[in-house]
Amino acid sequence: MIPTAAQTAVLALLGGLVALDGTSVGQFMVSRPFVAAALGGLAVGRPMLGIQAGIVLEALHLAVLPVGAAKYPEGGPASVAVGGVFAASQSPPVAASATLLVAVLVALALEWVGGYSVERMRQFNVRFAGSPPEGVTPREVARRHLTPVAVDFARGAVLTLVGVGVLDLLLGTIDFSGFPEIAVGTVVRLAVVAGVASALRLFGRGNYPFFLAGAAAGAAVAWLR
């Protein structure tokens, strides 16, 4: 049910890498919850379950903007951890909606912890900033720049391990027997709908007609399938 030691190690490695992708190195957006949770699921052999958690987290992450020095929740490591543990917990499938609900709540809490740790890391990085009056050598610039990168990787890996541990503990403790699965599943689904729809605020009021056209097309597809 829970990720094995080897799977947990892979999740930690992935968590470190997506933490880097979030800001420090690359920014290819592999760190988006939608992708990161799928990778977490892939690490335990069930990427489709991972991406289910990823879609919920992504919907609630769409309006988070990393502009300037703004503080914001960090989605990557939390999504890897939750995507991996949720996917592992569904072998065999049990209380899927309730498990997903707990996984998402853990991820949301971990995203805030991640955002706080990013802020602290940026304060820590100040010690590598600036330069003495005589200037710096290329080697010194590289050292000052790459040490924080290594710290960021370690931060992401630790955060992922914490997420795996906490979710694992909760899923092992909570008794889901008798849980109203359909009702809980509906709450999670409606949260996704509200989250996705909230993105319209990013695109502007003038684009409401496009939103309605998309909704009509989506309704037609949903009706026909």
């Binding site: 420090s24 290329p138 008798g178 689904r189 709908v193």
Partner: protein
């Protein structure tokens, strides 16, 4: 232009690769200042070859405060490398950096974070909700998003190296605004599509459609506050579920 030819293909390639890590040492004192010096290092080594003192001073100057959208930092790095190759006085380079950092930040934030990224990720989410395999959705998102991302970095460095101080005029000529507007339209369309697909799973009842429509309206009204509202709703659902399971 003759001075820039000393920054050959190898130097440009190393600058481009290093630009992917421009935010590696992000800090609250100099922001991405050290990152800019990290990108410029290969160019400055070439420009100041044989003069370690000048190289140290130049690198020291560029570790000072700088900020920009990370993808457009390559524009600034290219232009600064050109100015250094042309032996432009440091005061002029400092004024140039102060002048471009605001606009490079605003341009990138609006186009990439506000429009392109949500649009790309909604494409991937819509595909998976419509029944595509997980990797199709993830790959579609990454390909569409990174097409613009990689173009901005490569084009930015090349254009900065080519135009130097004239980069402002070049940036005004690029249709970033129109690209953002088109991405916003596509994003709004995809948001509607994804919301409808998420609201109505296979075989859903009329009440589920109605609840989905209400959730969409609520989501639009709440905007970014939807995150907190959804978290509260899910906590309540969890507590209610636990209570119901025991009764």
């Amino acid at each position: 232009m003759a001075e820039v030819t000393e920054l050959g293909a190898g130097v440009r390639r190393r600058m481009l690769l290093r630009s992917f890590a421009v935010q590696g040492s992000w800090n609250y004192q100099t922001l991405i200042g050290t990152g800019l010096a990290f990108i410029l290092s290969p160019a400055l080594r070439r420009v100041h070859a044989g003069d370690d003192e000048a190289l140290r001073r130049a690198l020291g100057r560029h570790t000072e405060l700088f900020n920009s959208h990370p993808y457009l930092a390559a524009v600034a790095a290219g232009a600064i490398a050109r100015l250094e190759a042309e032996r432009v006085p440091p005061e002029t380079v400092a004024r140039f950096k102060a002048a471009v950092r605001g606009s490079l930040g605003t341009l990138g934030d609006r186009l990439v974070w506000l429009m392109w990224r949500p649009m790309s990720v909604l494409l991937g989410v819509s595909l998976v909700l419509a029944g595509a395999a997980w990797w199709v959705g993830a790959l579609a998102f990454l390909l569409v998003f990174n097409a613009l991302h990689l173009w901005m970095r490569a084009w930015g460095l090349r254009t900065g190296l080519r135009d130097g101080l004239r980069i402002g005029g070049t940036l005004r000529g690029v249709p970033f605004q129109r690209m953002g507007d088109r991405a916003a339209q596509a994003g709004a369309l995809l948001a509607g599509l994804a919301a409808a697909l998420a609201a109505a799973p296979k075989g859903s009842h009329a009440w589920e459609w109605a609840a989905g429509a209400a959730a969409a309206v609520l989501g639009v009204a709440l905007g970014r506050r939807v995150r907190a509202a959804a978290a509260v709703a899910m906590v309540v659902a969890l507590i209610a579920g636990l209570v119901l399971a025991r009764t």
